[in-house]
Symmetry: C2
Subunit: 232 residues, 2 copies
């Protein structure tokens, strides 16, 4: 968590968020009024926060990771835009899962990378498949958010089949609760990843290496190419 986020929470009269994230910041909460709800209900949370801000209150809306990355950022702006509200708004960036999980795995991201959500709640699945194919065909390291849920158990295996068309048996990192309590890490490869399918859920981020990536002592490294350019 960044100093800037802590400072914003300290300065807030109201803190609005999903109960999971509110409990993670519990040690920071003192006099703030807390409005928490369970997962889902994003629109209601955004609406409540905007209403409080309109009344002149200082409000923090909590997202996990970075609020821009599949978080509350865009929704809050969309809501303000259609509501013609007028007050100051600041987005405070955070460490999103691709970077948190990249750090846990070692240094898999050093090359260009693509971030793709496998949730088709807001994006058509055909579009997601197209993005997976084009990212895999052009050498991006790929981070998969929302890789597998109970409501769509088969999409992860369809994703793996697409990636296998373009990639050899590259390293794959599976991290559940990255840098949070209960962290679990599996390092495997693309052709073996389906053996670990049951370990993958909505709290998991999956990183697919590119053809340059390799496994070293349980970590995934993607060289930046210094070994081609320099002598050690």
């Amino acid at each position: 968590m960044t100093m800037r986020a802590i400072d914003a929470i300290n300065r807030s009269e109201y803190v609005v968020g999903v109960d999971t994230y509110i409990s993670q910041i519990a040690p920071l909460l003192k006099d703030q009024k807390v409005i928490e709800s369970s997962m889902g209900g994003e629109v209601q949370r955004a609406k409540k926060a905007v209403t409080l801000a309109e009344e002149g209150h200082t409000v923090s809306i909590i997202s996990g990771g970075d609020p821009n990355v599949y978080g509350m950022g865009a929704l809050v702006f969309e809501f303000i835009a259609v509501s013609s509200c007028d007050f100051d708004i600041e987005v405070i960036p955070g460490v999103t899962a691709v970077n948190a999980v990249g750090a846990v795995l070692g240094a898999p991201l050093s090359s260009d990378y693509a971030v793709i959500s496998l949730s088709d709640l807001l994006t058509p699945w055909s579009e997601i498949e197209r993005r997976l194919g084009s990212a895999a065909a052009s050498g991006f390291v790929i981070a998969l958010y929302n890789p597998r849920s109970r409501n769509r158990p088969s999409q992860f295996s369809r994703c793996v089949s697409i990636l296998q068309k373009y990639r050899k048996d590259v390293p794959v990192g599976i991290v559940r609760n990255g840098l949070r309590y209960g962290q679990k890490v599996i390092v495997t490869t693309l052709n073996s990843v389906m053996d670990h399918e049951d370990a993958i859920d909505m709290k998991t981020t999956v990183i697919i290496g590119n053809e340059e990536s390799f496994i070293w002592r349980g970590r995934i490294l993607t060289p930046r190419g210094y070994h081609k350019k320099y002598e050690y």
Copy 2:
């Protein structure tokens, strides 16, 4: 800056980094021995840090943003791997430019996104062009790192020509020194971005919206699609 990074710096005997980044963390430095060098010399810095760690010292290597993203992370691991050294190493993630600049611009990233460096120092330019084309063709919001340097002034315009083949006049955000001193923000569109070419250098990150992105009160928003799914 995260609490975890501050804690690691506090616990270090040695802090190694480029002078630009060392000066940014100057308020945190007390008893630590500081080894700073100018930009370039990455291999020497990694080598020095590894040598100190081998001698049993606690060493922090400072990167700007996230150490995995075009930072020192992979180089340090590559160095340790070829040297067969053996000591604990922890990568502490940070807020990389795409997320910092995304926050400055509003909420441009809400959809899937691709991170691409235009520096061809370690990646062939033909490969970079291929990645630009495939990301642009498949709806990714695109973040360009190292967009333009004195040694390769024409690559940014070549990049824009490639993007224009696939994208209409989408929003473009240009942020120099994002969330650092001297921050400068320009919000424009793909067909007008070359008017601002001189504002773009190695301290700049450029975000290219997708076809859904729009400009609202000087910010760039990419809807997640809630307006298609929900009534406000």
